[in-house]
Symmetry: C2
Subunit: 372 residues, 2 copies
């Protein structure tokens, strides 16, 4: 416990202390798990190790929101403090998130992630620095496809190594499987919307964007981690239902906050360029509201700018103004507030101990008020 106590911010609060101790175990489990993988890659060739290195560098970072939700889902269902299954399943969820980010960044042409070059950019840079042959960008995205595949396989390997609680035909396993399929389906809808969206009625766009948000992010970022932790500890139907009633609106609020940050976020805080979502052509709920609520001129300006990789800071600034004037920002903030309130009122009634409730309150608060 001595390292946890060294984290001064948490020294007085038992929830924060336990959470710090969990994070430490997670960090050490990540090193152990990837360390063993490193041996497999070394057997193939030392030159293959950078593939795992990219997974490692990315997975060391992050806020661990999914792992922590999984942990408190476990604790709320009676799992023991710092239980090994909750550490290992947290690792699996963080690796799944890394895999999704690696491939997402190729798809979204995002060059930065967590303030550093994204994985495809890292490999492309290495190609350029070493003056290798053929095309840097193609090498970068090819290597990142493989790094994401490796990370996806490792995520499942970690989940399976939880043991019997995550074995075939367990509830936790069924959730893990459904989570993966839903995320990939949701991401497909997301890229489909970027290319078919401009042809749709603005009113329909809001409904579609909310469905994408739910499957692509809300469920897997918030609902599934909490539920998987609960299921691993043997939560009953009633508790799992109350977990969902809390976590699904929270997940929607979380992703809506992400949508707002993707357009209005401060690059110094988010670690991504200003207005990145606009350049990527993301048809988020925020954008859908702007299209349905804005003037004809606003709609034209948004449609013309969205998805243009060369949008400069002035164009981003102008689009921000248009989106704000359309009322979309206020509508989105109201929706975040509504979902958040729903989540908190469910949490107040949830049949969990005081410590779990307090931890989930903090996590929920951080998820919807974050600036990065």
């Amino acid at each position: 416990m001595s390292q946890a106590q060294a984290t001064t911010a948490s020294s007085g609060d038992p929830v924060a202390r336990e959470q710090d101790a969990y994070r430490e175990q997670l960090a050490s489990d990540l090193e152990d798990f990837l360390g063993r993988q490193r041996e497999v890659l070394l057997d193939v060739s030392e030159e293959s190790v950078p593939l795992l290195g990219a997974v490692h560098a990315l997975s060391k970072g992050g806020k661990r929101m999914r792992a922590l939700l999984n942990y408190w889902g476990w604790r709320g269902a009676g799992g023991e403090a710092l239980g090994a299954p909750a550490v290992r399943s947290g690792l699996a969820l963080e690796l799944f998130q890394s895999a999704a980010l690696i491939h997402d960044d190729i798809i979204d042409r995002s060059d930065t992630r967590r303030g550093a070059p994204s994985v495809h950019r890292h490999f492309a840079n290495r190609h350029t620095d070493e003056s290798w042959h053929l095309d840097s960008d193609h090498f970068g995205s090819s290597a990142a496809i493989l790094a994401g595949d490796l990370c996806l396989a490792l995520s499942e390997e970690a989940f399976t190594s939880v043991g019997d609680r995550a074995g075939y035909a367990t509830r936790a396993r069924a959730m893990f499987n459904r989570m993966r399929t839903e995320v990939m389906a949701g991401q497909y809808l997301d890229i489909l919307e970027e290319v078919v969206g401009p042809g749709h009625e603005p009113e329909r766009a809001v409904l579609r964007a909310r469905n994408i948000l739910r499957y692509k992010s809300a469920k897997y970022s918030i609902e599934h981690p909490l539920a998987i932790g609960g299921a691993l500890a043997g939560a009953d139907d009633e508790l799992l239902a109350s977990y969902s009633a809390f976590s699904l609106p929270l997940g929607e609020a979380f992703q809506l906050r992400d949508d707002v940050l993707g357009v209005f976020g401060d690059p110094g805080v988010t670690g991504k360029p200003a207005g990145d979502d606009l350049r990527e052509g993301k048809r988020t709920v925020l954008i859908a509201y702007a299209l349905s609520g804005g003037s004809d001129a606003a709609r034209r300006e948004i449609t013309a700018g969205l998805g243009r990789p060369d949008l400069d800071d002035d164009a981003v600034e102008s689009l921000r103004g248009v989106i704000e004037e359309s009322g979309a920002l206020a509508t989105t903030e109201a929706l975040i507030a509504e979902h958040t309130e729903q989540a908190f009122s469910t949490l107040a009634e949830m049949a969990v101990d005081a410590q779990t409730r307090s931890a989930l309150e903090s996590l929920a608060h951080a998820a919807v008020t974050r600036t990065a």
Copy 2:
């Protein structure tokens, strides 16, 4: 058995009859398994179903070599005829192969697969046909990244659903995990070699190409499927060792045959354009021999042509001549013959029943003499 008997080619031979019956069960298991997945995607949105459709279309085809090796590995270790674990693990291996092909084709910029458009090309074509917005090629490769991810996750889901024999800490599971990591590491070495290879000494290139061939293909196409089938049926160490002694040289011969077909194959039979490997810049063992054995002029011509996406048929024809003259084709064929002989002599001594031996003989023969 009536459908199996309808396959006239196999009617007289008990091995071929059993194999046909296995193929049918595999085909029907694929439909069941993906049919259940379809329900998950329909819950997300009907519009997400084409993602699974692409996986389905690809996975219906193929020669089922990996599934069959897995099946005879199972049978040779005493597993019952048409046993459900061997059907399901065969499905898992075929889905893993599909996932690898989907991402490979993006990486290799291959537009055709099994005589049809590759998955990224299929989605890009759909984008063009429907006159959707933004970039067709980027949409195509993005959708194929997601389809490959879905397929990779489904492969593992299928493997886990084998049940206890494939559970955590079983030998079969450990092999399945190692297979995935090795393939991804091997593929990374393959793309690395394309970009760093031109700077290497030709002699070193042969060693490197043979290592890549082993991990990227030989082990996962031949050795691991046979071993996983054996492990699922409880094969002992001795049998598994003889499986490897047979299957690793066979796998190397198989991939060397693939290298030859990638340059000298008949497009009408392979379903891929003539000389596709040359255009992709593949640094295969065949190419490595050509570089190390050819004249300076030959080396220059090969180095200049390799990896040029715009190589036309005349240039391919000329490179074929250079490679043949260098002695590389003859050396590669000799290596194929040597590995094949090693495999067959091990098989003759292997402690398996006559039916399994006969089946493995046929599969081995097909693997090294194939024309597609």
